[in-house]
């Protein structure tokens, strides 16, 4: 790519979609790394948690017993990176018997219908 292709004025809507549970696979952790990097590009970033992805935000994760790193505190740090749009699908929470009180960060809980509209308005969707 030529250097002059890169226009720092462009602001696109980037959405990261998390639909997988943490620890069983590495996708949740590596997706979070992408979100953190994206913050440096001054784009319009949002992060969605739907299906088993809502479990990524469950309070009380305690991982020494499986010898893996507990990365859930990093979600609390997103605010400091100006990643403030965290959306959780209401239907996914309910199907798992969870409420907003079970989550370790403040999020916006949206119905499938509301979330669907926001998803449709994105320029770039990154999922894993």
């Amino acid at each position: 790519m030529e250097e002059d292709d890169f226009n720092p004025e462009v602001v696109k809507r980037f959405m990261f979609v998390n639909r997988k549970a943490p620890y069983g696979t590495v996708y949740a952790l590596e997706s979070l790394e992408t979100v953190l990097i994206s913050a440096a590009f001054d784009q319009d970033v949002s992060v969605v948690f739907a299906d088993d992805g809502v479990f990524q935000l469950k309070k009380g994760q305690d991982t020494p017993g499986i010898n893996m790193k507990n990365f859930s505190p990093t979600f609390r740090a997103l605010d400091g990176y100006d990643v403030e749009k965290l959306y959780v699908e209401k239907e996914s929470l309910e199907a798992r018997g969870l409420t907003e009180d079970d989550l370790l960060v403040d999020v916006e809980v949206l119905s499938s219908k509301e979330l669907s509209k926001i998803m449709a308005a994105q320029d770039v969707v990154i999922s894993n």
Binding site: F6, K12, E30, T34, S38, F41, V124, S127, N128
Partner: protein, 119 residues
């Protein structure tokens, strides 16, 4: 149109890399530009030059290298994902380079479309 492609899985185990390759080839055949293919998660294993599939099977590592050589496609392997999985310069196939996740975000900004393939 300028396409960026994200590949999340290694070769052979999942069809993701095959589908991404077929998509890239078809895009180029139609006159589009494939500006970058970014390999993340197990996708970094697509860059392992030691891969030696049976002779009657496709060799995805080689196919990606050839595509890069013929059509100037930028094949970028995520450094963090690659280190974790042991993909280093020692085993890097021709046409691939190791770089940061920023290259994925940049492809999203600069390209017209980002198309993702995974498990």
């Amino acid at each position: 149109m300028k396409f960026g492609i994200l590949v999340n899985e290694g070769p052979f185990t999942h069809q993701a890399s095959d589908s991404a390759y077929q998509f890239a080839k078809a895009a180029i055949a139609k006159g589009h530009e494939v500006m970058r293919v970014f390999f993340y998660h197990d996708g970094v294993n697509n860059a392992n030059k030691l891969a030696e599939p049976p002779t009657d099977d496709r060799n995805l590592v080689k196919l990606w290298s050839e595509l890069a050589a013929e059509h100037n496609v930028d094949l970028v392997v995520c450094v963090a994902a690659a280190l974790r999985r042991g993909i280093k310069d020692d085993v890097l196939a021709p046409g691939f380079r190791i770089s940061g996740l920023g290259q994925l975000i940049e492809a999203g900004i600069v390209g017209d479309r980002l198309v993702t393939f995974g498990d």
